[in-house]
């Protein structure tokens, strides 16, 4: 029978392997699966390629994963958030690779990966340095660049409410990248604020159908990144 619930964070991330591509949900701290990220730090996988809009703040969550030397490459749109010091230092010293992707192109590449679309065309970045080396093509008099779908081995995301089939809802703008990352990853691992009975979420309001989810861990009171940072915390 179908039950995607897993008791422990460490079991949930146990099989993330060295060199894996890991999509991590969140836009800033909204939607950041901080407990799953910390479990991944404990787990020890390294040389990861991480896909996230940013590069984390302070010394917790994604920033801590980077600071602990686990990330070989970031694919992101904005690695320069206020409070983001870990990534810039490593980047300047050549210790981490960066693939800079416009935010909407990043989102669409992830969605395409999840939807079985190997490539698509967008006008975003045409005539800019980010289009360099990319294939240009004209449709109806306008130039577009070809962009590739993006898939991952794992996705770590945060949901508001989940059932044992993996159906998910989100809290406000914490939704951001989670639904499309869930689609694009081979294995999607969810931390949810509340685990509920199958059938208790209205089928009309489920945002991520369970087909895109593999594991659900309940974390009723997740840490708040900005609070940890204000307290000067670092991980581990």
């Amino acid at each position: 029978m179908i039950d995607k619930h897993i008791d422990s964070l460490s079991d949930a991330v146990a099989d993330i392997f060295d060199g894996a591509t890991v999509m991590i949900g969140g836009f800033g701290e909204a939607g950041s699966p901080i407990e799953l990220i910390h479990a991944l730090i404990d787990q020890g996988a390294k040389n990861l390629t991480v896909v996230n809009n940013n590069t984390g703040s302070g010394h917790v969550g994604l920033a801590a994963l980077i600071e602990n030397g686990r990330v070989g490459k970031m694919i992101c749109s904005y690695p320069r958030t206020v409070g983001s010091k870990v990534f810039p230092e490593l980047y300047r010293s050549g210790k981490i690779e960066l693939e800079l992707v416009p935010q909407g192109t990043l989102a669409e590449r992830i969605r395409a990966g999840g939807a079985g679309i190997p490539a698509f065309y967008t006008a975003t970045s045409v005539n800019t340095p980010l289009a360099e080396g990319k294939e240009l093509r004209n449709f109806d008099g306008r130039d577009y660049v070809m962009e590739y779908g993006l898939r991952a081995d794992f996705a770590l995301i945060k949901s508001e409410c989940a059932d044992n089939h993996g159906n998910l809802t989100y809290n406000k703008t914490a939704r951001n990248f989670a639904p499309i990352m869930a689609m694009a990853a081979k294995t999607t691992i969810v931390q949810t604020g509340s685990l509920c009975e199958v059938g208790s979420i209205d089928p009309e309001v489920i945002v991520t159908p369970g087909i895109f989810v593999n594991r659900v861990v309940e974390i009723p009171h997740p840490a708040q990144e900005s609070k940890l940072i204000a307290e000067g915390r670092s991980y581990p």
């Binding site: 029978m1 939807a115 089939h165 089928p203 369970g210 087909i211």
Partner: protein, 228 residues
């Protein structure tokens, strides 16, 4: 060709559906085509849970409703009234086909007009000049779903083989079929061609071969069964 028309030998429709259901693992996400494939849902073995996807926008489809509980806006891809099981979700067509194209559906069971020994499937058009062409989601399903099962009578009503060297009808997809369940046998599509995995009770390998448009290979399971 009249031999193929005998009614009382081989598997019936229910038995074909039941046999197919045995091969669908617990926890699978499954899309069932119209006709005999739909019947597979009735035969999920005890202890297994299977979630049904219908491409018009529902995951967690349940059986047909009682007549007084029909909602004309709760239908399956065959446009028949259905119900929802606990844990169901609704979504739009682009999201629904993202599930298909993105290889999120584990198994799809389809009908067939012809299957070639390379696994090519023809099930959408006779290619006749005056036919109204209609494809629906068949091409998306065979291109996107991980495992494609076909349930079909072994021969057409007029006794022509449906398992052939190469399809004469327009293709739905090339090299897409994994396994075929007919009234006579269970047949795998392998790199070497069709391989018979199982015979219906009272049906011999030669009997099936006579009704097939290309060479069949006996699978290891047949030899094993013969040794018992």
């Amino acid at each position: 060709m009249s031999v193929a028309k005998q009614q009382n030998i081989g598997w019936g429709r229910e038995e074909m559906a039941k046999r197919t259901a045995l091969d669908i693992p617990d926890g699978s996400y499954v899309n069932l085509g119209i006709g005999i494939p739909e019947m597979v849902a009735q035969y999920v073995p005890e202890g297994r849970e299977v979630i049904y996807h219908t491409e018009n926008g529902l995951l967690g489809m349940g059986p047909a409703p009682a007549e007084d509980e029909v909602d004309p806006e709760l239908i399956n891809a065959g446009k028949k009234a259905v119900t929802v099981n606990p844990g169901a979700s609704f979504f739009h067509h682009a999201d629904s086909f993202a599930m298909i194209r993105g290889q999120h559906i584990d198994v799809c069971v389809l009908g067939a007009m012809q299957v070639s020994e390379q696994g090519d499937l023809a099930n959408w058009s006779t290619g006749e000049a005056d036919a109204i062409p209609a494809v629906g989601g068949a091409m998306d399903l065979v291109a996107g779903v991980k495992t494609i099962y076909v349930i079909t009578q072994h021969c057409t009503k007029s006794g022509e083989p449906k398992l052939v060297e190469s399809c004469s009808y327009p293709l739905t997809g090339k090299a897409v079929v994994d396994r075929i369940y007919t009234d006579l046998a269970v047949i795998d599509v392998t790199a070497d061609g069709f391989m018979v995995a199982e015979l219906a009770p009272g049906i011999s390998f030669d009997y099936v071969q006579q009704r097939t448009g290309c060479k069949l290979l006996p699978g290891p399971q047949l030899a094993e069964a013969a040794n018992h």
